[in-house]
């Protein structure tokens, strides 16, 4: 008799592989948001006459807003495509744990969009601040915040699956504002050398809750849409 845990592991790996295959082949789905991020980060110093010090101060605000915008773009049709072509229907019929698949989908989006954006963001941080220490400290914050943003935008988009992503974004905005406030505080903490790890743990705590709850909620929302 085949080992049950091995079978479950194989099935889960298949789900991840299928999601990776879909997103990898849809280059506009992952490359588009990354290019938008690069465009924003490259264009912003060119458009205003900042002194180097001012540039440093404005940089982090632009960075967080750019990450937010890119994650919003990335999730625009994350469920819509599957809904339109009938894949979601098949998933609901054949899958016991829809929330796991949704979690896997978000993870793949984060791996292909969130991680590169975090790396590129850290490189820009190094370029602007000329401090590799700051760039290193900002990298995990970018990783965590991009994952949180992705989850929240996915939630918003699932709520308005058939109504367009603008409404979904508007619904999600109030949930994102506290996170933006925390990200602002993280930058102050890095600059002053205070409480950085406390903020990092806070963000990790938020992420660990969101990572479990959001896919579960989305699975219920999607079932309701299909009904």
């Amino acid at each position: 008799m085949p080992n049950l845990s091995a079978l479950i592991f194989k099935k889960n790996m298949n789900i991840l592989y299928f999601e990776l295959l879909k997103l990898r082949k849809k280059s506009r789905g992952w490359l588009g948001p990354i290019l938008v991020f690069i465009l924003i980060m490259t264009a912003f110093p060119l458009t205003v006459e900042f002194l180097n010090k001012d540039l440093e101060q404005a940089f982090f605000s632009i960075l967080w807003i750019a990450v937010l915008l890119v994650m919003m773009l990335a999730t625009e049709d994350i469920f819509l495509e599957d809904y339109n072509d009938g894949s979601l229907e098949q998933l609901v019929i054949h899958t016991k744990s829809l929330s796991f698949i949704i979690g896997a989908k978000i993870l793949i989006y984060w791996s292909l969009i969130g991680v590169p954006v975090s790396v590129i963001g850290s490189i820009y941080c190094l370029g602007i601040t000329s401090s590799h220490e700051t760039a290193l400290l900002i990298f995990p914050v970018l990783l965590i915040s991009s994952y949180i943003f992705l989850n929240l935008f996915c939630f918003g988009n699932s709520l308005t699956l058939t109504k367009g992503s603008v409404l979904g974004t508007l619904i999600t905005m109030p949930l994102l504002l506290p996170l933006l406030v925390v990200l602002g505080k993280v930058v102050i903490a890095i600059n002053l050398g205070l409480n950085y790890f406390d903020f990092l743990i806070l963000l990790l705590g938020v992420l660990s809750i969101i990572i479990v709850i959001i896919p579960l909620i989305i699975s219920f929302v999607i079932r309701a849409h299909l009904e």
Partner: protein, 192 residues
């Protein structure tokens, strides 16, 4: 001898905004038997199939299933990714590309289209590709919503003979179709 049912629907009713689509539909599906759901456009055939699949809930009534495997379903939407090739879509449907898949692909004239993007295929070819997972199913119950739409005569007769074989293998089929599939099936009309 009493036959045990595989799937049973009891007094199913469904209404949308106080408009009754159908009411008190009851039927049993036994192993090796087929049910043909008929009705005019908008009579609720797809809704009834979605209730059978557990996607929608009936306003009244209940269903009972004694299935030991997943239901194999093909609806109006083909669940194909338009930007992927035929081969990639087969992989996504968890189909291993072995001899039996290649033989079927040859039978439905898609063997030489493995590296073609699905959006380049005609509607009928896309339908055939979607039917492939039905041809390779390991389920006890097949649920098909208008499976013949877009298929040419040759493909329709291929599908009909496949479904007959499935019934001979003691599998059950529930389908809706405006085109008469020449298989032995009990008919349920949703026309009031």
């Amino acid at each position: 001898m009493t036959m045990t049912y595989l799937f049973k629907a009891e007094n199913l009713s469904y209404k949308i905004n106080e408009k009754k689509l159908f009411q008190n539909i009851s039927f049993e599906v036994n192993s090796g038997s087929a049910i043909h759901i008929t009705g005019s456009n908008g009579s609720g055939k797809t809704t009834l199939l979605r209730i059978i699949l557990g996607i929608s809930k009936p306003t009244k009534g209940f269903i009972e299933a004694k299935l030991t495997s997943d239901i194999c379903y093909l609806g109006h939407k083909n669940a194909l990714k338009q930007y992927l090739t035929v081969e990639d879509n087969l992989i996504l449907q968890n189909l291993k590309l072995n001899e039996s898949v290649y033989t079927l692909l040859k039978d439905i004239d898609l063997y030489d289209k493995l590296d073609v993007v699905v959006s380049s295929l005609s509607f009928g070819q896309q339908k055939k590709l979607a039917l492939l997972k039905i041809f390779l199913n390991k389920s006890e119950l097949l649920v098909l919503d208008e499976p013949c739409v877009g298929l040419d005569d040759e493909a329709q007769s291929f599908l009909t003979s496949f479904l007959r074989d499935e019934l001979d293998k003691n599998k059950s089929i529930i389908f809706s179709s405006h085109i008469n599939l020449n298989i032995d099936a009990k008919s349920i009309s949703l026309n009031i």
